[in-house]
C-alpha cells in the first residue's frame, strides 16, 4: 500500500536529482569493501555516561542502498549511536565497521567523514555567517587539506553541481543569502544539501523533519527515498507518518539496545513496542 506512493514520489522527484546522483564520483572511500553486502556493522556497542548506559550492547547492520528508520522514545540512545558511528563518542566496548575493512573506532571525525559517512545533526547546524552557496561549496567532496584549500578554485563542473543541489533543496533563490537568516526548515534543507555535496556512501540523518511544515516533510520524504539505492540512509525520526511514508525496515531502539526490527506494520503490532513506545501519547 505504501510502495506505489513512495515510488510515485521518487518519480516525481525526477530530473535534477537523478543527475545529482549520477555525479557520484571518486570521493567515497577507495577502500570501502562491500563483499558481504553490509555497509555498516555496529556490534555489541556499549556507551556509559557516568555509569548510565546510553547504549547497551547495541547491534545493528545496514545493507548497501538500504533506507533504514530508527525510532525510539526520547533518550533511547539514537543520537548517541550516531555519535559513535561518526567518531564523536568512543564506546566502552563493541566494534563499528564501515564495510569489511574500515574500523571506525580507529578513525577521527574528519577521517570518517572523508571515508564516506555524512551526518545531519538533530539541531540543524549550518555555517551561519556564510552564504548558502558557500555552505555547499565547503561541504563539497574532495581533498580537504590545508594546502588544497588555500589555492582551491571552483571548476565549472563543481559549479554546476552546486547549482543542481541548490535546485534540489529548493534554495536556488537564496543562493547568496546568509545561512543564518534562513528559516528552520530551510536550514534543515541546507544541511541535507551539504550532505549531498559531500556525496557520502552512508548518510546518517537525525530527525530531519523536526520543525518542518507538512509540505516540507513530504518533500524530505521524497528526497530521502530517492537517495536510497545509490546511498545507504539511516534516518532517526519520531514522526510516525513520516516513517511510514519512507521506511522499508524499521529498528526500534529502547534503553540503548534494539527492541524490535522489521517492517513498519510488524513493529507497530509488536506488543513490546506498543508497551514502551507506540503506547505513548505523543504518537
Amino acid at each position: 500500500m505504501n510502495a506505489p506512493t513512495s515510488m510515485g514520489m521518487a518519480g516525481r522527484f525526477g530530473g535534477a536529482f537523478g543527475r545529482v546522483l549520477q555525479r557520484r564520483g571518486s570521493s567515497s572511500a577507495p577502500s570501502l569493501d562491500l563483499t558481504h553486502n553490509i555497509i555498516l556493522y555496529v556490534e555489541g556497542v556499549t556507551v556509559s555516561f557516568d555509569g548510565f548506559r546510553a547504549l547497551n550492547d547495541l547491534s545493528l547492520y545496514v545493507a548497501p542502498g538500504e533506507l533504514r528508520c530508527i525510532i525510539g522514545p526520547n533518550g533511547a540512545g539514537k543520537t548517541t549511536m550516531m555519535d559513535v558511528i561518526t567518531g564523536k563518542t568512543r564506546p566502552d566496548t563493541g566494534s563499528v565497521w564501515f564495510g569489511q575493512t574500515l574500523d571506525l573506532l580507529t578513525l577521527g571525525e574528519p577521517e570518517i567523514a572523508q571515508a564516506g559517512i555524512g551526518r545531519k545533526f538533530q539541531k540543524p547546524t549550518v555555517f551561519s555567517e556564510h552564504s548558502v552557496f558557500e555552505n555547499l561549496e565547503l561541504a563539497m567532496a574532495g581533498d580537504k587539506s590545508v594546502w588544497k584549500m588555500l589555492f582551491a578554485r571552483l571548476t565549472p563542473e563543481q559549479l554546476t553541481r552546486i547549482d543542481e543541489v541548490l535546485e534540489t533543496i529548493g534554495l536556488k533563490d537564496h543562493r547568496s543569502a546568509r545561512a543564518g537568516s534562513l528559516s528552520h526548515g530551510q536550514k534543515q534543507w541546507l544541511e541535507i544539501g551539504m550532505l549531498l555535496m559531500q556525496d557520502p556512501a552512508l548518510l546518517l540523518v537525525d530527525e530531519p523533519v523536526a520543525g518542518m511544515t507538512p509540505q516540507e516533510t513530504e518533500r524530505t520524504a521524497e528526497l530521502l527515498t530517492s537517495l536510497a539505492g545509490k546511498h545507504s540512509v539511516v534516518v532517526v525520526e519520531h514522526d510516525m507518518n513520516f516513517v511510514r511514508s519512507i521506511a522499508r525496515t524499521v529498528t526500534v531502539l529502547h534503553q540503548g539496545s534494539v527492541l524490535a526490527e522489521g517492517t513498519i506494520d510488524e513493529v507497530q503490532n509488536d506488543p513490546k513496542v506498543i508497551e514502551v513506545y507506540l503506547g505513548e501519547p505523543r504518537c
Binding site: R119, L138, V146, L150, A152
Partner: protein, 394 residues
C-alpha cells in the same frame, strides 16, 4: 517591418579595458583599497616631509614623529595578526605579544652582535652583558645571529616554532575558548619570567639595547630611520594583503566555518586542528616580523614586552577597531595607541582605567567596533527613512 528583418548593424568593436586588480579591490573591498592607498601615500609622503622639508618648516616631520608612526605601524601589523586568528577563527590569544617579543629579540640579538668592539667592554664577540656576567663564550643560540639573513630567518622561526609546538599540543587536545586564552596568558607570563633571568642569556632584566647600526647603517641617521620606516610600511602592506588573500581563499572560508560551527566542520571532513595550527603559526610569524621591525626603531627590547597585559591590550585594539575586519584591526591599533600617546603625556596614571572603560564600552555598545559604526548608522538611517516614507504614504 523591413527594418526589423534587416540584420542588426554591427556593434563597434569597442572592448573596455579589463579592470586592474586595484580597481577590482576598490569595487569588492573598498575599505582595504582605501587603507592600502592611504598607506602608500603615507609611505611616500613621510620621507619627503622628514628629509626634504627643512627643519623648522611647519611641514617638517621630526624624527620622533617618524618613529612614532613606524611604531604604530608595527602595532597595526600585530593587531592584524591577532585579528586573523581571533576575528576569523575565534582563537582568542592573550599571549600574542610573546611572538612579537621573540621576533624582537631575534632582531635585538643581531643588532647586539653588530656593536662589536664599540661596546663598553670592547669585546669583539661577546655583548656587554655577557662580559659583565663573566661569561667566556657565546651561548650556542647566539651563534650565527651576526649574519643578517640568518637572524631574519630566526625572526620567523622562533615565534613560528613556539606557536607550532604550542598549537600542536593545544589544538590536538581540543583546548578552546577561555581555557585556551588562559594558557596563552600563562605562556607569555612564563616567558616573561624566563627572560628576566640573567642565566637565560638574553640580557636579563635590562634586555638588549645600545644598538649602533643595522647592515652597516647608523641607526641614528635620518636616512636609516626613513628606510626602517618604509620597510615597516611595506611589511604592514604586504602582511595585510597576504592576510586578506588568506581570508578570501577557500581556506579562509573553512577557518570562518570552524569559528562558527567547529564540529560541523569536522563532520564534513576538515581536520580542524591542522587549520588552526597553520593559521596560528602564520599569525605568530607575522607578530614576530612586527616585533623585529619595532626593536630597531625604539632601540631596546626587554622582558617587559612579554607582560600579559600587553597581549590583552592588543585584543582591545582589535575589539575597538572592529574584530573580523582586517582594516578594523589597523584602525583600532592606531586609534588606541594614539590615544595612549596623548593620555600618557597628560594623565599617565589614568591610562589603564581608560583602556578598561574603552573595552567595556566597545563590548557593550560597539560589537563590530569603530569600523562597524558607520555601516550600522547608515542602516539605521535607512530603515528610519523607509518607515517615515511608509508613514507618509498611508
Amino acid at each position: 517591418m523591413s527594418t526589423a528583418a534587416e540584420p542588426a548593424a554591427p556593434r563597434p568593436a569597442f572592448k573596455p579595458a579589463p579592470p586592474t586588480p586595484y580597481q577590482v579591490m576598490m569595487r569588492e573591498d573598498r575599505p582595504s583599497g582605501v587603507f592600502l592607498t592611504v598607506l602608500a601615500i603615507v609611505t611616500l609622503l613621510v620621507p619627503i616631509l622628514h628629509l626634504a622639508v627643512p627643519e623648522g618648516h611647519v611641514l617638517h616631520l621630526s624624527g620622533y614623529t617618524v618613529t612614532l608612526i613606524g611604531k604604530y605601524m608595527c602595532y597595526a601589523l600585530l593587531a592584524v595578526a591577532v585579528d586573523l586568528i581571533w576575528g576569523y577563527c575565534g582563537i582568542l590569544s592573550l599571549g600574542h605579544t610573546a611572538f612579537f617579543a621573540l621576533g624582537g629579540y631575534a632582531m635585538g640579538m643581531y643588532l647586539m652582535r653588530q656593536i662589536g668592539t664599540r661596546g663598553v667592554y670592547g669585546d669583539p664577540v661577546l655583548p656587554d652583558f655577557m662580559v659583565f656576567l663573566n661569561w667566556k663564550e657565546l651561548p650556542w643560540f647566539w651563534h650565527g645571529m651576526d649574519v643578517f639573513p640568518f637572524a631574519m630567518l630566526m625572526v620567523l622561526f622562533a615565534p613560528g616554532l613556539l606557536a607550532g609546538v604550542f598549537g600542536w599540543l593545544a589544538f590536538r587536545s581540543r583546548v578552546t575558548g577561555v581555557y585556551l586564552s588562559i594558557i596563552t596568558q600563562a605562556l607569555t607570563y612564563a616567558l616573561l619570567l624566563a627572560f628576566f633571568r640573567n642565566e637565560m642569556g638574553f640580557g636579563g632584566n635590562n634586555g638588549l639595547t645600545d644598538f649602533k647600526d643595522l647592515l652597516g647603517f647608523d641607526l641614528k641617521h635620518p636616512e636609516t630611520r626613513i628606510v626602517l620606516f618604509m620597510a615597516t610600511a611595506v611589511a604592514l602592506g604586504a602582511g595585510y594583503f597576504t592576510c586578506r588573500a588568506i581570508v578570501r581563499s577557500r581556506f579562509g572560508r573553512v577557518v570562518q566555518a570552524i569559528r562558527d560551527a567547529e564540529s560541523r566542520a569536522r563532520f564534513i571532513g576538515y581536520r580542524v586542528e591542522n587549520y588552526k595550527l597553520w593559521l596560528f603559526t602564520f599569525s605568530a610569524m607575522l607578530a614576530g616580523v612586527a616585533g623585529a621591525l619595532y626593536v630597531p626603531q625604539v632601540g631596546i627590547i626587554n622582558p617587559g614586552e612579554f607582560a600579559p597585559i600587553n597581549s590583552i591590550e592588543v585584543v582591545i585594539w582589535v575589539a575597538v577597531g572592529g574584530r573580523g575586519t582586517l582594516y578594523g584591526a589597523v584602525v583600532g591599533a592606531i586609534m588606541v595607541n594614539y590615544a595612549k600617546t596623548v593620555m600618557t603625556d597628560a594623565l599617565p596614571d589614568a591610562w589603564l582605567y581608560v583602556l578598561g572603560a574603552l573595552f567595556v564600552v566597545v563590548t557593550l555598545f560597539l560589537p563590530r567596533g569603530v569600523v562597524g559604526l558607520l555601516p550600522d548608522l547608515k542602516h539605521k538611517l535607512q530603515t528610519l527613512r523607509q518607515r517615515r516614507a511608509r508613514a507618509i504614504s498611508t
